[in-house]
Symmetry: C2
């Protein structure tokens, strides 16, 4: 099997996982179901993934890879660094929100089962996102738009400040309230950029 | 039974829950164990709480009640509104951190079991905290220290921005890193108060 077709199978298994999560949910999803959905043998699934948990985590990995491309695209736009950061903060919230939108009911299930491994994994996600934010913060400092600060610490603070709006921390009800979540992300982004303290004081 | 002694029994059950959570953890804690620890009958436990989950949630309620007293105390201090808000933001993170410090190992357990009800409950916690923050933001606006804004929206943004540092969102490893969590809370608080955008620009 060439490398590209191995990637195709892996992708097809993750696509199947997405379909099944939207259907019967995580608890009822079996490796047999996944193999049947892709049209391959159970053994082939295990060639790529060691367990159901590993599939759920890889599925989340893929969402983050797609998000990173979108963040890079916004960072490359022509606009002030502040405007780009603001859009990137909203995007990291809303892109994840939209990615799990069709199976919000099974999210409680998934998060209950994989919480410890997911929390470990999130460190890597946040580190990768932080690099993209940090590069833009550095540019904003260089141009004089942002106050002098350590770009990586500032990037970490921006992520920490919006992390509680990611699906893991939202209740099932909140996962139905896209405009409300977007509004909260925008408000936090504004406060982070402008600060509470009056510029006249 | 007078009201005050009913409160005593309730408190004693919650104290017992804290002890047992630090010992064998949530999964192994039974109503029988709790009754034995308090020295009352199992039926008496059920007079106050309908289930083990209800006890875990009430235990968290009590932590929040104590936190609110501490936040009110900081809000009443003599210092700039900004300095008080900064300390309140760190306190809401660190007080919760310290409250669960002796049973971090069973937190994964607890959160996995009660995640949906806890997320619902958190709405009320955040609402109560937001009132305390909002009152101080309003004072800071009145005195000209803060830029004009809707105090409640600003308070909500301050809470959202520090919510990802609360125990529910921390991995077991992070729950061992008090100085690191305190540093992150302080950094976010600084960015929220001063903003990223340069005051000279």
């Amino acid at each position: 099997m060439r490398d590209s077709s191995a990637r195709d199978v892996k992708g097809a298994i993750l696509d199947a996982a997405e379909t099944l999560l939207a259907g019967n949910g995580y608890k009822k999803m079996t490796i047999d179901d996944l193999a049947a959905e892709v049209g391959i043998g159970k053994g082939s699934v295990y060639l790529h993934f060691s367990s159901k948990e590993e599939i759920a985590l890889s599925h989340i990995d893929r969402i983050i890879e797609r998000l990173k491309v979108r963040l890079e695209n916004i960072a490359a736009r022509k606009a002030s660094a502040g405007e780009r950061l603001r859009e990137m903060l909203i995007e990291r919230v809303i892109f994840r929100f939209d990615s799990v939108q069709h199976y919000t009911q099974s999210l409680n299930d998934i998060f209950a089962k994989i919480r410890p491994s997911l929390l470990e994994r999130r460190k890597r996600y946040f580190d990768e996102e932080a690099r993209i934010f940090s590069a833009l913060v550095a540019k904003g400092i260089e141009s004089g738009e942002f106050a002098r600060t350590n770009p990586r610490n500032a990037a970490d603070a921006l992520l920490v400040a919006t992390n509680s709006l990611l699906p893991y921390s939202l209740s099932t009800q909140e996962l139905g309230e896209r405009p409300e979540i977007e509004r909260r992300a925008a408000t936090v982004a504004n406060v982070l950029l402008k600060g509470m303290i009056s510029r006249e004081s």
